[in-house]
Symmetry: D2
Subunit: 229 residues, 4 copies
């Protein structure tokens, strides 16, 4: 089993509550097919296109987190993540897609599928209607799940895997550090607001529910990625 | 063909752009099966439960529209709609469901399906990220579509149809007046902001896109309603 | 001293923390001058005009509270309050102002003063950036303070006081019931989220701070009302 | 007169409508007293402390602009500005204040004055309730005004002016480039949404009003800065 102790106390608590769903997400058939190199290139390209749209909305949600921060420290970490998304991850996507023959214009004009809409709008709306914690927890399954997937796939895939650069992105020291930093942000944000005994705070069950819904929406995203239009 | 002139200029313009999708929504297999009384009771109950969750979020979106209004007149119409939703339509749902043996608690604990999440969060997020017009247009396919469906189903269904009270709700003079009033609100709001020649305003295409996406999400809602879990 | 036990546990706790500021607000020179009928009519009219603008934004904030509710019960109380504001209190204002020779158009075109902007935008922004509790607490000083002022002024003013109908609005059984109902809403909302021992929850101090800031902004509103342009 | 052609067409149009207010802001007594080195050090320190709080909320507003963007290009410019604010301007403030003997903790605990609350919450609430353009226009007087003030003060102040490093911050090539870039962003955003003939679009007068209110709130900020607590 993949160790994620460095992703922090709160994430590991949230994950431990819903282990079956979590595994369904992080060890999904789509994920495994990347690891064993069996993924149809057409599906990979479809995924990249939908994920580009996803990243745009996900970046907007991180921006909203900055607006909802309580301290300059929270703002710094959230805006550094936003910066990495807008100036690195989205750019990397554009580059990868270009290598696959998809132009930036094609990417931007990709029709957003239902499952993609459901996930991104759920996260953004959770953020707008709730507060900082609601939003940060809604963002968590994506951040930490991709970290785990990077570690998992690296452990099972061969070096000649055609998807190795995708795997390396999330396996990389840089991405694992992002997970550690956001794990710290989450731990501190939760303890500041709910105390050390956070899991007994009345607000906690709603956060657990948000984490579960976002995890299920990640599963739905993989399901979509397995279907050719 | 159902006549909806009294729903206003803007709605009829938006609808005329996407007639195929609009018909797919308002004359969907699920809709027809209500009209010809062939709908499986289990599917009807499933629909009622999901629609209860939908109505809660839809009410929240109408509340947000009040917050985004530019004038006291806009606030009055939007808050009257909110009031009708919270104090009449949601109550009617609770009553109808009770008659079918579903308690309010069961209703509230219904697990929200993916297609339901996609639609409600799309509308709310469009409202939070955009302004008054974006939100009002995102709310339009539901308001006007149900009005049309009421007229359409009344014209094809028999009086002994077991779903006649559902049909009558949307066929009723009261509901048709809601459509007229909100049609007026939409016409005035658009002309105030985009002018008489609104369809040539640069902002218009984005509103058309919002209307189309919300219409497709209505279709997806019917698709969900045809599937038993 | 005015008794406000029926306004609920949470409000009375919040008030007891900041008694000096609270008295400065509810027994402000402007308030007293209404009670002893010494208020210059010009200042009263200025107040009515600014308060009309205030009520519009305050209504928008109550609408936002509906959007941020966690349950249908919360939505019902918040939307009933919104309805009372939009369809009664704002209308009453328009009527009162008309009696003083101020048309609705003049009212709507009143230039919003700095202190008015500060208060209304603080409340709305607290609501948008935070969650349900943050917003409800930001709304509290106005709701409960006017209830107290109604009781206080009735106890000191004579029946021939020219401002008696203003006083009676807030002294009325109806308005006092609003205070009781919103006191219950606040008590239940706080206990649902922070537990019985709410004052020891880490989130509590931020709510206290919000209550204090909104109370100070009420004082600033009275200060503005004492100044002729 | 200071030339600001490179700040773009839209800003110069907005400014030309309200030249008196604009001059009242950019050539305010407080501004001039920095230029002629007559500003009391105590007032300067008070200003720095309030401006630190201002910058935090201003950064949150830029983050919100990212969330409200329509394209990746808009997101890139808005998030670069956010990054500059959080990682450079706020840090510069902390450093400058430290040099004046004010710790970061003191800064963070500065009590926000009424005029500061009014301005920052007006901008944020305009953004939350409106869309991208409303927010960007609300942010404009600060961005461009400080650019003009930098140019103006440099032209009248001597090199031994104790406030020269503050002046140089806004006179600097870097800051002037920020103004040019945001001027381009504003021009493109307006033309994309309102067309070349933007000043005849029905939406335009509301944007003019927002620009005027934010300019007046800048004047109020200087007024506050001239008062010792």
């Amino acid at each position: 089993m993949i160790k994620t102790d460095n992703y922090g106390i709160v994430f590991n608590k949230l994950k431990s509550n819903i282990l079956d769903d979590w595994k369904h997400y992080t060890e999904h058939e789509f994920v495994k097919s990347i690891g064993n190199a069996n993924l149809d290139k057409k599906l990979y390209i479809k995924y990249l296109k939908q994920d580009y749209i996803f990243l745009i909305h996900f970046s907007r949600a991180w921006a909203l987190l900055v607006a909802k921060s309580n301290s300059v420290d929270e703002m710094r970490i959230a805006s550094a993540t936003l910066d990495a998304l807008v100036n690195e991850e989205i750019q990397l996507h554009i580059k990868t897609c270009k290598a696959e023959g998809i132009s930036e214009e094609q990417l931007f004009n990709t029709e957003e599928e239902l499952n993609n809409i459901a996930y991104t709008r759920f996260v953004l709306e959770t953020g707008y209607s709730g507060g900082f914690l609601d939003l940060l927890v809604a963002l968590s399954p994506c951040v930490f799940g991709y970290g785990e997937i990077g570690l998992y796939l690296k452990s099972i895939s061969k070096n000649n895997n055609p998807y190795i650069s995708w795997i390396d992105t999330y396996y990389s020291k840089e991405y694992q550090e992002v997970c550690t930093n956001i794990g710290n942000l989450l731990d501190k944000a939760i303890q500041d607001r709910l105390g050390k005994d956070f899991a007994n705070n009345n607000i906690w069950p709603k956060l657990e529910e948000t984490f579960l819904t976002a995890t299920k929406l990640e599963i739905d995203f993989w399901e979509m990625s397995l279907r050719l239009e």
